[in-house]
Symmetry: C2
Subunit: 297 residues, 2 copies
């Protein structure tokens, strides 16, 4: 890979560049972003060789790029793909790092038309509580998973290029259907975020909020840790994965209603059975998994 | 304190005995429990001097006891108080360690009648993922909170005795009204447990459960940690605090419905506002608190 263009040089894009450079796998990295301050961080940390804000003439860099990685927040991926499609070269492989995939696949189909075979949708499952180029580090993706969701029309050589890119960063690569991806991440990530946001928002709105928070202990701390996440980022993810998340919310509320009704009618047998199904599944998952350390997105 | 009788020599009762002994604050400790094996553990670890199963003639130990601590699971507190009331001496102070308080106060009123002034309801906020006398250790309560919920009728010297007991164990003691206690712990502990149980139970029941769990990462791990808790213990707590927990569930579902509706109608402004209220409150709480390490109950 001679030239990699990264649009959105934050924690994800910056860490990817650092990992590829550490492996000697890329000639030059060009960074494109919204704010000059972050791009200056990226340049001073050796993440990028050249940096452009969106107001600069950055699209000339696209024609000779081998790979363009769009690592912006989810809501900015679609407009960015339209711009990239208008300027990228015929052999350029374009990919993204968004937490949702059906919306990105649809945006890419619209932006690239027949050339959508050069677009490989991807979701690296990694993150920390920090953001920006200043927070990037080359081992962020080591032993983590990156999911690719290519379609039947996606060019095999483009998929191979992006697979190699993430494997070079230390990630395991697995392939999912975009709808399956969105259903799974609605369940294990997007839904838990909404549930945690809802608990803290509800408690914070109570007249006795100060008393309530004063008595919260470690169970509460772990349960609500993800409620400290970025409201903007999670608004975008929730809306981008609206259909699958709405389905997951509906199924969740059905189960919660069953538990609430068992509590109201004092049905200890039903309640213990449901709690035990959860407890058994959670213990099996914990035993089967060596859970990775950084937070997921 | 010459004689302390502990009914239920598990993690809580056992750790209390070890802490009081380490401080030289108790002459002898008598243990009462369901299973001989656990009582043998308690004796061999020096937690108790004498041990009785519930089938033994243990009630003769009550008359000369200074303090009787009922540290059984929540559902066994009420029947135990009836037995203790029938055999304890006129100066004996009786207390408990249950996670709910209105039900215990009502059970004590029924069991003790006019002598309920010698009963001091208490909730030590401490625990680990382990249970039984084998898991007990003397510093479990250090820098943790124990809440007392005495009534206007409770004898001040009885409250002072139990306050001193827990302070000797290293705990901070605070006083709450029983209804306030149950409302607060419904919100910060019992509700989060039900929410986490509901998520894992729902995911485990799906046809694609294996795929879903295979992609769960660290956000899911922390959010669902409390879903690995004991189904029996949490069934009992949920039912013991049924009224306050049902109220908390109703308020929670109202907030969750607001978020679900905002997602369905694609209302990013409303969604971001609710997420931001949660995120701000969570960050303020995290900054204000040095969260204790062991799990709460």
């Amino acid at each position: 890979m001679k030239r990699l263009v990264i649009v959105g040089v934050g924690l994800i894009g910056g860490s990817c560049a650092l990992a590829l450079k550490a492996a000697g796998a890329v000639g030059e990295v060009v960074g494109v972003g919204r704010t000059r301050g972050n791009l200056d961080d990226a340049r001073s940390r050796g993440i990028v060789e050249r940096a452009y804000t969106l107001d600069d003439r950055w699209t000339d860099e696209l024609r000779e790029a081998d790979v363009v990685l769009v690592a912006t927040p989810v809501a900015q991926i679609a407009p960015m793909l339209a711009t990239i499609a208008a300027h990228s070269g015929p052999r350029t492989v374009v990919t993204d790092a968004g937490s949702t995939k059906q919306d990105v696949v649809a945006a890419a189909a619209k932006a690239f038309g027949e050339r959508a075979e050069r677009f490989v949708p991807a979701h690296p499952i990694a993150g920390t509580e920090h953001s920006g180029a200043a927070a990037a580090f080359p081992t962020l993706f080591r032993d983590r998973t990156t999911i690719l969701t290519p379609g039947a029309h996606t060019a095999p050589d483009a998929v191979a290029t992006i697979r190699t890119l993430w494997e070079t960063c230390g990630a395991r690569v697995s392939i999912l259907d975009p709808a399956q991806h969105d259903r799974i991440f609605a369940a294990v990530s997007h839904l838990p975020h909404v549930l945690a946001f809802a608990l803290v928002a509800e408690l914070a709105a109570r007249p006795d909020a100060a008393d309530v928070f004063a008595h919260a202990a470690s169970g509460f701390r772990d349960f609500t840790r993800i409620a400290g996440s970025s409201p903007e980022m999670w608004r975008d993810i929730a809306l981008a994965n609206r259909a699958a998340l709405s389905d997951a919310l509906r199924d969740y509320r059905t189960m919660l209603d069953r538990m609430a009704q068992a509590i109201e009618r004092g049905d200890g047998v039903a309640l213990e059975e449901l709690f035990a199904q959860a407890s058994d599944a959670r213990r099996r998952w914990q035993a089967a998994t060596t859970a990775p350390k950084p937070v997921d997105r």
